[in-house]
C-alpha cells in the first residue's frame, strides 16, 4: 500500500499537483460561500428599506 510520504510527494510532481488542487479548493469554496452571503445581504437590505415605497429608493 502506498506510504503517506509517497502520497504527499505525488511521485515527484507535488509542486504541480498540490497547487492545482489548492487553487481548485479556493475557487470552489468562494463560489459556494459567496452566493449565500449575497442572498442574506440582499434580504437584509430589502427589509431595511422603507415599507413599500412606490419606486425603488
Amino acid at each position: 500500500m502506498k506510504s503517506w510520504h509517497e502520497f504527499i510527494s505525488m511521485g515527484g510532481y507535488a509542486a504541480f499537483v498540490w497547487p492545482a488542487y489548492g487553487i481548485a479548493l479556493v475557487v470552489l469554496a468562494v463560489n459556494a460561500l459567496l452566493p449565500g452571503r449575497r442572498q442574506r445581504q440582499l434580504l437584509r437590505e430589502l427589509r431595511q428599506r422603507a415599507p413599500r415605497p412606490g419606486q425603488t429608493p
Binding site: G11, F16, A24, P35
Partner: protein, 245 residues
C-alpha cells in the same frame, strides 16, 4: 409536462423550490467529490508515463467539462429568455456565468500546471487551450455586458445575444483536438462507444464529474435566487417573503 415547466418558470415557485433543494445538492456534491478524490488521489494506479502527475486530471477534466456545460446552460437560457421573454431564463444565465467563468479559469490553471512538467511549458497557443481561453473571455464579456445597462432588461437581452453568438465556440473547443494537430491530448474518456482510459482511473473521474455537476446544480440555484431577488425586489411576492420572520 408543460404545466410543470410553466410553474417552474415562475420566480416565486423557483425561489422556494431552490431554497429547499440547494442544501441537498450541496452536501451530496461534497460527499461525491470527496469519494472521487479518494479514488483519484489514493486508489487509482499511477500512469505508466506521467506517474502520479496525471492525478491533476481529477479536477482538470471536470472543470473543463463544467466550463462547457455551464455555457450550454447559458445558451439555452438565453434563447428561452429572448424568444419567450422569460425573466427567470435571464436570471439563470446571469447565475451560471460566474460559475462557468470559474470553471474555465480552473481548467486553464490546472491544465497549465499539468502542462509544465509534461510538455515543458505553462502555455502554448494550442487549439484546445486557445479556444478555452476564448471561452473565459466570453464569460467575462457576458458578466460585464449584463451589468452595463441601467435597465436590467437591456443588460439581460444584450448579454443573451452575446451568449448565442459565442456558442459557436463550444463545438470548436470540443473538436479542436480532432480538427487541428494539437499538443493537447485527443479524445480519451469517450472514444466512440468505449474509452481509452483504464477503468481504475476512469471510475474516479466519472465520480468527480458527477460531483461537479451536483456542485454546479446547487450553487447555480443559489445564485439564481439572488438574481431573481434583485430583479423582482419590487414585487409583492418578494415583499411577502421579506415580511415573513
Amino acid at each position: 409536462m408543460f404545466t410543470w415547466f410553466h410553474k417552474l418558470a415562475s420566480p416565486p415557485y423557483f425561489y422556494l423550490l431552490a431554497e429547499r433543494l440547494v442544501p441537498w445538492f450541496a452536501w451530496a456534491s461534497l460527499l461525491i467529490i470527496l469519494a472521487g478524490l479518494y479514488g483519484g488521489l489514493w486508489l487509482a494506479p499511477p500512469d505508466y508515463q506521467q506517474g502520479d502527475g496525471f492525478r491533476i486530471i481529477y479536477i482538470h477534466v471536470p472543470s473543463a467539462w463544467m466550463s462547457m456545460f455551464a455555457y450550454a446552460v447559458m445558451a439555452v437560457a438565453a434563447a428561452i429568455g429572448l424568444i419567450w421573454r422569460m425573466k427567470l431564463a435571464h436570471a439563470v444565465s446571469a447565475a451560471a456565468a460566474p460559475l462557468g467563468a470559474s470553471f474555465a479559469f480552473l481548467a486553464l490553471v490546472t491544465g497549465s500546471l499539468w502542462g509544465k512538467p509534461m510538455w515543458g511549458t505553462y502555455w502554448v497557443w494550442d487549439a484546445r487551450l486557445t479556444s478555452e481561453l476564448i471561452l473565459l473571455f466570453l464569460y467575462v464579456g457576458y458578466i460585464a455586458l449584463n451589468q452595463a445597462f441601467e435597465d436590467q432588461r437591456t443588460g439581460d437581452r444584450a448579454s443573451a445575444i452575446l451568449t448565442l453568438v459565442g456558442s459557436v465556440n463550444l463545438p470548436i473547443i470540443h473538436y479542436s483536438v480532432q480538427w487541428w494537430n494539437t499538443l493537447h491530448q485527443g479524445p480519451t474518456v469517450f472514444v466512440g462507444t468505449g474509452s481509452d482510459i483504464a477503468p481504475g482511473m476512469l471510475v474516479p473521474l466519472l465520480v468527480m464529474i458527477a460531483g461537479f455537476m451536483l456542485y454546479f446544480a446547487a450553487f447555480v440555484m443559489k445564485r439564481i435566487q439572488v438574481e431573481v431577488l434583485r430583479r423582482e425586489r419590487n414585487t409583492n411576492w418578494v415583499q411577502e417573503l421579506i415580511d415573513k420572520p
